[in-house]
């Protein structure tokens, strides 16, 4: 059978070809104008999954960054409180050493030393009640208004403390156990200074208290080191998030965004193909034998 060709068949196939060109043109046009290589999951299911995962990671990182910023606030507050505490304790030690010179001091001088020691104890309690955003940084997860009350008794809750999640599966403690740093009740650093002041007034030798002060200074020093280490951990986590941010953004671009040069070249090629098929259609559909017969 000789392959017949008919006007209707040609119209049909010309239309189908034009349609397919136009569809391709429209896809490329969308890609070029949105800059995205796909807008629907079906256009690239695997890419969609990657894009969703990357976006989730980005959102998680933004949250981790917020957690870290909050945690850094806590640790900075603690660090300041501890360094002040440390200098206050140094001052208290000096006063105690001075007060230990029993022979050279009159009762007025002793009274002056005792008063300053008591003031130092009060200043220490102020530091122990340091707050960040309304929360006592030494009180753990307690909702007490202060970490140490007037008698120097710890009001907070010991335990795991306040944690900040800085990465998937990693949490960092951002508070300090007040009871461990300052002691509590009779064993607290406040009670100690009060005791020294009382001993000074009573004319007793206070040299024996120096060891206790040294112990407290040691504790504060250790805690400062620990806070510094945790601060570094947060900083490192923050830096790693910054690095990841760049990596994730470039991954997302790789998955979602079109290669603009390629897309525009393809768009141009497609335009040429489309106009070629339009002019071919015009040539093919117009003539018939009638044009050539008289």
């Amino acid at each position: 059978m000789i392959e017949r060709t008919t006007q209707q068949g040609m119209q049909h196939s010309s239309l189908a070809i034009l349609q397919s060109h136009l569809r391709r043109l429209s896809t490329l046009q969308t890609q070029a104008s949105t800059g995205k290589s796909f807008a629907k999951p079906s256009e690239d299911p695997a890419g969609t999954m990657d894009a969703m995962r990357i976006r989730a990671d980005q959102r998680a990182n933004a949250q981790y960054q917020r957690n870290i910023d909050n945690g850094l606030g806590w640790l900075t507050t603690i660090d300041t409180a501890l360094s002040t505490t440390s200098s206050l304790l140094r001052r208290a030690r000096e006063l105690t050493v001075e007060g230990a010179n029993t022979g050279a001091l009159g009762s007025t001088s002793r009274e002056a030393l005792a008063t300053e020691l008591e003031a130092t104890a009060d200043a220490l309690r102020d530091q122990s009640n340091a707050t960040y955003l309304g929360r006592s940084v030494f009180a753990g997860t307690s909702d007490a208004s202060v970490a140490f009350d007037d008698t120097g008794t710890f009001q907070g809750v010991a335990g795991d403390g306040v944690l900040r999640r800085v990465a998937e599966g990693t949490s960092v403690r951002v508070d300090s156990d007040g009871a461990a740093v300052f002691g509590t009740g009779g064993g607290s650093v406040f009670a100690l200074l009060q005791q020294i002041a009382a001993d000074l007034r009573a004319g007793q030798d206070v040299i024996g208290h120096l060891d206790a002060i040294d112990q407290h200074m040691d504790t504060v020093g250790k805690e400062t080191a620990s806070v510094g280490a945790r601060y570094n951990r947060l900083e490192a986590a923050s830096e790693s998030i910054e690095t990841q941010k760049v990596a994730l953004a470039s991954q997302l671009t790789g998955v979602e965004d079109v290669d603009l040069a390629e897309t525009i070249t393809e768009l141009k090629l497609q335009e040429v193909a489309y106009s070629a098929s339009l002019s071919a259609t015009q040539r093919v559909l117009q003539p018939s034998l009638l044009d050539f017969l008289r």
Binding site: E3, R4, T5, T6, Q7, Q8, G9, H12, S13, A16, K40, P41, S42, E43, D44, P45, A46, T48, M49, A51, M52, R53, R55, A56, R59, A60, A62, Q63, R66, N67, N70, L133, G134, R135, A139, G140, T141, S142, D143, G156, V157, G159, D160, V162, L163, R164, R165, S171, E256, S288, L289, L290, L293
Partner: protein, 489 residues
């Protein structure tokens, strides 16, 4: 041989050529008519002589020409092939449309999809874990929880609405099938009458072919020609049209997606319960295998199935339900271990739910009855029992549920993407095959203007020739009648 037989022969030629001319004209007139099949006047010469006998010998001249038949140059096999491909294209097209609708409602990847809502909900828990004393963080959490709940409900409602639209489409398509079947039966009758009367039913056959193709596309009907020129139309092995008789179809089954989801498969389905299905109106029995658009719609409307692929809409709706249940159960389980702000540890509040959700069909699907149980921001349980009042470890633990739920959801999205893509590819391939078959039919049965022009030309010239023959015979007779017997005049 008569004196005038030559004239008669020429006359038959005039008539036959005019007939051929008219048919070429008819073909040209219908060059753009959909479904028109070209016709051709078949000419046959008339034998001049009678049967040879003892005293007469066959003469050499002939009696002229006659149009022995007007043929419809269709191809039954190509027509059947177009119908078969229409069945596939209709079916796959309907399934692909269903997936397209589902995909359009997923809204992923994007900033307003479910995954973004899941992320901000769980991020809200971390903010609560960071500052359990701040009511602002808690209020933000409740807000994002409500946004998440309404996003799930919106997604489900979208599926529900698409289902209802398709259910309506199934009804109206069935109406169209019945009407088309009635037209076919009517055409069968007219073709039969026309054939019996010796007429030419070509245009009726063309029209019936169009209707048969439409039926194939709609419901996957199969045409079986009978010897008397009529056609039987079979759907799923039973006759939709037999001769001039029509058996009507009707759609039965659940009118809403919720009814379908709530239906217990162990109970018998009635006219308004059970899966959506096509039923013979006369006998009430379910139609066997159906194809075409209606078949595709029924597939799209099918209930979700644990074994094998269920209906896409119901399956995705079930996924939303599962997600709602998993979210509520996981969050509630972790939430119950915690303590809220200002709760007295000695007399714990037994009401620990964060979300309320119900699996009772009477309450509607879980996606729609999922709600946030807490209105007082202090009742968000962030602190672990035994820890300080401002502990956030429970809130932190809840925030870690994100991975589980987000991966469930992204799996669903990818699945929808793959299915939509596959369905579109299959529908596209079927459409291409149909286009090829239609193209073949059109090149076989369609009108070629050049060919018809040649036909016109040939007929016109033949007509002129026949007229010239008449002139020649006329001049002969003139010579015989008027110029003889006048010798010497």
């Amino acid at each position: 041989m008569s004196t005038f037989s030559g004239l008669n022969g020429a006359l038959t030629s005039l008539l036959a050529q005019r007939r051929a001319l008219e048919i070429a004209g008819q073909n040209i007139a219908n060059v753009n008519t959909p479904g028109y099949t070209r016709q051709r006047a078949t000419l046959a010469s008339i034998d001049g002589a009678a049967v040879p006998s003892m005293f007469s010998a066959p003469t050499t001249t002939t009696g002229g020409v006659v149009v022995s038949s007007v043929d419809r140059l269709g191809d039954a096999f190509l027509e059947a092939r177009v119908r078969e491909e229409s069945v596939n294209a209709g079916y796959l097209g309907a399934v692909s449309t269903a997936w397209d609708e589902i995909e359009a409602m997923v809204d992923e990847p994007g900033e307003d999809g479910l995954s973004a809502h899941l992320s901000s909900f769980f991020a809200g828990w971390q903010d609560v874990a960071n500052s359990p004393d701040e009511t602002a963080a808690r209020a933000v959490l409740l807000e994002s929880a409500n946004a998440l709940v309404s996003r799930i409900a919106t997604a489900y409602t979208g599926i529900d609405r698409a289902w209802a639209t398709m259910r309506g489409q199934a009804d109206s398509l069935t109406g169209e099938v019945n009407a088309t079947a009635a037209t076919v039966a009517d055409l069968n009758d007219r073709i039969l009458q026309s054939t019996v009367a010796g007429g030419n039913p070509a245009t009726l056959v063309d029209e019936r072919n169009e209707q048969l193709t439409r039926l194939a596309e709609l419901v996957g009907a199969e045409a079986r020609p009978r010897s008397d020129g009529t056609v039987d139309v079979m759907v799923g092995g039973n006759a939709l049209v037999r001769g001039t008789k029509v058996n009507a179809l009707v759609v039965q089954g659940a009118p809403r997606l919720a009814d379908l989801t709530a239906w217990d498969p162990s109970t018998p389905s009635t006219a308004t319960t059970g899966p959506v299905r096509l039923v013979w109106q006369g006998t009430g029995t379910t139609v066997g295998a159906t194809g075409g658009r209606l078949g595709g719609l029924l597939t799209a409307l099918a209930p979700a199935s644990t074994s094998g692929p269920g209906g896409p809409l119901a399956t995705v709706a079930a996924t939303y339900d599962d997600l709602a249940l998993e979210l509520a159960n996981a969050v509630n389980a972790a939430h119950a271990t915690g303590r809220y702000l200002g709760e007295d540890p000695s007399s714990p509040d037994p009401d620990t739910a964060f979300f309320t959700v119900s699996t009772d069909p009477a309450d509607g699907p879980p996606s729609l009855n999922l709600a946030v149980a807490i209105t007082d921001v202090r009742k968000v349980r962030a602190a672990a029992a035994g820890a300080g009042a401002l502990d956030g470890s429970v809130a932190d633990a809840i925030s870690q549920l994100e991975d589980r739920l987000a991966s469930t959801w992204s799996q669903t999205v990818v699945n929808i993407g793959v299915q939509t893509r596959t369905a579109a590819q299959r529908a596209g391939a079927a459409q291409t095959t149909l286009d090829v078959a239609t193209g073949q039919l059109q090149s076989q049965a369609g009108v070629n203007l050049d060919e018809e022009t040649i036909q016109l030309l040939a007929s016109q010239r033949a007509y002129e020739g026949a007229a010239r023959v008449i002139t020649a015979i006329d001049q002969l007779l003139d010579t015989l009648i008027n110029r003889t017997g006048i010798v010497g005049r």
